[in-house]
Symmetry: C2
Subunit: 597 residues, 2 copies
């Protein structure tokens, strides 16, 4: 059975030592969240995730969700009690508006809790996670009456939320949506159509389910400009939010998936279901994008979360498993064999995961703090800068953290040899669960296109220039410090490659957009490496300071310095290969006739 310990100390170090948490105390929600309070909150979250959610992960995968002939769906044993504990603890609304029952704490803390919960049990964590996404769209675009009716129920966890976008013939291209909405005259609409791949679409965790559904109002323009967003509750609530009659929405079947078996992924049939418009007619994609950006960050966190839990188990196995002898001679001669952690190649796999996990976590927190500033600051310039950076980093995080997170679960599985391929150790489940994160909320190829096609050129490249300036300034400030030399040197080279790649795209993709598409995935990963390298420079800087201030922390801080140096020596060199591939352009890709593939 796999195990999990939430990385509370690492998060606390990042928030307080690297990102200057206390300097944000002027923002709403931050003033009460002193470092001590943060530590207490994270400790509580860790306990719940380690003791309640994690033990249900493997059994939940084996049992899966079951649909009965009446269309009802039951979740795995234990999920209901765990959900109640999660909801009762106030975790769903941790960062939500107190006006509707939320705790109003920083979104950044919510992101941390999401990481812990996703590491412990990804399939479970999706249920409250989807409620948070639905809530975000509702609070931004819903009417006052809609907010008053639905938000408290979503925040308390009494009801849960879903996102209904995909149809059998359209996933990425939402302009093709066919589900139609017919006005009923009383402000409501009747929705008819079929949605697929709907996570948490039907289940027995809550008394009601609130579906946010993209559909086309009769007579709307074709394409994406004719899509509207509707709220469609499973049971129609009265004004006091008591669930009443069953609505015309039902689960037609549940998908047989590679993983996340504990989450019910449904085909949802809308058969004249009553729904209400959220926001303006034909502006549904706009409203949905609010939900999607937050959801994309949530999916990025899933990638990190699976990598973290897989790493922890692989490291423990590598310390325990006795097999062979060290290349440099027996290390534990009194035993029949050495633990496999003596082998450089096993350490390589572990350090690739570790060096990613710590930097990726830093990047998530850094980006989440931008979100808090963008949503809570009173200063226009600060809001704009934070929002720019949030927009730029969201596709990078979604694409890189899920691609690399998945690859790391595969590496962790490899450490187990044959024992990684069988179910009982739980390693193959991490691989199967992590795989979906590269696909949903916009497949990673779409993230890469969003980055190079939209986020990069936006405002004349304002966001990326701000990023370059920030990294450049940090490099300049730290360049003279000998102890940081491995970090500044590595980052400098990586940044240079990223700037060259950016320049190449600017010069070659305007006239020929295929050049942007051909280099997009490489550019996204190049960006991710530089961003993680930047995080490592800041972590190393803080680690050296902590070590100097408190020698008892030397061991923990040295581990960070080693992992970071490994990152610079072994992972940063990939930036050169990315640059070479980007600069190769699109010609050879487009040369192959479609029917010759």
């Amino acid at each position: 059975m796999p195990s999990y310990r939430a990385p509370v100390a690492d998060v606390h170090f990042l928030l307080t030592q690297v990102f200057g948490w206390e300097r944000l105390a002027n923002l709403p929600g931050f003033s009460d969240a002193t470092p001590d309070v943060v530590e207490a909150i994270l400790g509580e979250a860790a306990k719940l995730c380690e003791d309640v959610l994690q033990p249900l992960n493997l059994p939940g995968d084996r049992e899966g969700c079951k649909r009965a002939v009446d269309g009802s769906v039951s979740v795995p044993k234990g999920f209901k009690a765990a959900y109640d504990a999660f909801a009762d603890g106030g975790w769903i609304g941790l960062a939500a508006d107190p006006q509707y029952g939320g705790q109003g704490l920083p979104y950044t803390l919510g992101a941390v809790v999401n990481e812990f919960a996703s590491s412990a049990n990804m399939a479970f964590a999706m249920y409250p996670g989807l409620s948070q996404g639905a809530l975000a769209a509702l609070l931004t675009h819903g009417s006052e009456a809609q907010k008053a009716l639905y938000a408290p129920k979503l925040i308390s966890g009494a009801w849960s939320g879903t996102m209904n976008l995909t149809e059998p013939h359209c996933g990425t291209d939402l302009g093709l949506i066919k589900t139609r909405a017919v006005p009923l005259g009383d402000g409501a609409y009747a929705l008819t159509g079929q949605k697929i791949f709907i996570s948490a679409g039907e289940h027995d965790l809550t008394e009601n389910i609130v579906h946010l559904v993209l559909a086309r109002i009769a007579g709307a323009p074709a394409g994406t400009k004719g899509i509207s967003l509707f709220i469609v509750p499973k049971f129609l609530p009265d004004a006091q939010a008591n669930p009443g009659a069953r609505n015309g929405v039902s689960c037609g079947s549940i998908e047989h998936k590679m993983g996340i078996h504990g989450n019910s992924t449904c085909v949802m049939n809308y058969d004249g279901a009553t729904g209400w418009l959220i926001g303006e007619e034909n502006r549904g994609l706009n409203a949905m994008f609010v939900m999607m950006n937050e959801a994309r960050l949530g999916v990025a966190i899933q990638g990190l979360a699976q990598s973290e839990v897989a790493y922890q188990n692989a490291a423990a196995y590598a310390r325990d498993r006795l097999q062979g002898r060290a290349l440099s001679g027996a290390k534990v001669p009194e035993k029949q064999a050495d633990p496999i952690i003596v082998h450089p190649d096993v350490r390589r796999m572990l350090l690739e995961m570790r060096a990613f996990n710590e930097a990726a976590r830093a990047l998530v927190l850094w980006t989440a703090l931008k979100s808090d500033i963008a949503h809570r600051s009173g200063e226009e310039a600060q809001i704009r800068a934070a929002d720019d950076m949030l927009g730029l980093m969201t596709p990078v995080l979604k694409g890189v953290l899920t691609d690399t997170g998945f690859a790391n679960t595969v590496k962790a599985q490899q450490v187990f040899g044959g024992h990684g391929y069988v179910g009982e150790w739980g390693m193959e489940q991490f691989v199967r669960d992590a795989r979906i994160a590269m696909i949903y909320e916009g497949a990673n190829g779409i993230q890469a296109l969003d980055l190079v096609g939209r986020k990069l050129p936006k405002g004349g490249g304002r966001a990326v220039m701000t990023f370059f300036n920030e990294v450049g300034a940090c490099l300049k400030e730290k360049e003279g410090e000998a102890a940081l030399a491995p970090f500044t040197n590595g980052l400098k080279t990586g940044l240079d490659h990223l700037q060259k790649a950016t320049m190449w795209l600017m010069q070659n993709a305007m006239a020929k957009p295929d050049n942007a598409g051909a280099g997009s995935t490489d550019y996204m990963h190049l960006f991710g490496l530089v961003a993680m390298g930047y995080m490592w420079l800041r972590i190393a800087d803080a680690a050296l300071a902590r070590k100097a201030a408190d020698p008892s922390l030397a061991e923990a801080m040295n581990a960070k310095l080693i992992a970071g140096t490994f990152f610079m020596q072994r992972m940063m060199p990939e930036t050169a290969a990315h640059l070479a591939r980007i600069s190769a352009g699109a010609d050879i890709l487009m040369a192959m006739p479609a029917d010759a593939f």
Copy 2:
């Protein structure tokens, strides 16, 4: 439902146009295999694989193998009839000695048939594949009586074979084996112990199962020098090979695995089972290694095979799926959307697979031909050179083709978006099935160690120098040809990196073996890229010649030239990153205390 077409034309092109098949006609078994005969044989194999084996792949995964309370195991529906067709067609003994009923054809053709069968149905293909492995060990190390008794049954398929190495506490480190063999006085032994992860350990396909089992004879030296190899039939045969009394070996349970559900992976319990020594006492690992080298090539082929079938399905989906518009403007304006193959990033994924598949197939055939020469040539020098190259390339092929083959199934799945994550399209099965190939027959980390620790220094680096000379000579010969410039330039850079990495290892790994271990996986992949690059140069050269000779082949030959140019532009640049990582050495890896992981 996925589909599959065996790449007969590509194989034929490689054998006849690239590798000069007809020049080998002096070797036993080759003289009858004229190009026309080869084409006919491959066509027959293709038909069987496409029409019989492939349709059983997805249902076989869903149904899996079932163990009854009496320990018997049933395979999925349809497997028995398919197995009989495969056996009756003479495919198991295609390359086996005619003295025992084999067809005596080149091993190279057997390797091709294995690719086709593994693409069509990997879980199925393992049953005859394991018989071939057992046969190889038996024919090399068995006594005349053993060969006469068992070989005809394995070749006809009436009986099947297995390899029993792994125990719960030892996989890689076979010196720890505990299964013990007690001499019974009549030349036989009684074996007692438990083996795990035994593929095809128990099933209802054949009237008997022949287990090759590693065990320790009472009083044998400790470690690997005290391991012997035994043959343990499920039913004890009489002298006429009629299966008689049930032996004391049984299936204790079947493993719950990530994939290859159609193959029964068993825990095998030996409870005083009667067995006979194969080869010499305490020399069991030697005998087993014969089987393992062939099996490693077979596993490499599985990696290629899964990549090929995944590619074919992804390419078809990309041509069919309508979603969004080309970046350069609508390509099929009369339809609601363009097929996703218009997108450079989709083409990138497809070409990464395609450029790998064709080069990997060439490398398999090139290596398999070395095996044929090593086993069938009469000339000492030729045998030694071929055997050197076979030894050098086996770990490269096993490690690189399964790592990259798996990664390609993940890419192919990605092309399908959400439809790749659900079972019905079959793409997620390719991922789950391909994953095991990185683990069994020596995890890929072990292959990398075998390469840098054993194969590289062997005979003073004789094999690797021969490889460098061959590639260098080919480069020199072709360097002046303008049409080949993309190939010679790319390969030259790659070869330079590989030579530098080899030099670095020679200079730095003698005194400090951890430096070899730290760079081993990167070195293996660097080697693989250069070897595939060498294949691409030879393919391109042949393709240009074919095109010039027969203009009707222009389209097919151009596709090869495009895929190969893509390889040089987009995949070869990775060699620089590998070199950088290798040169970084082991220090940072070994710096982390084990308990700090």
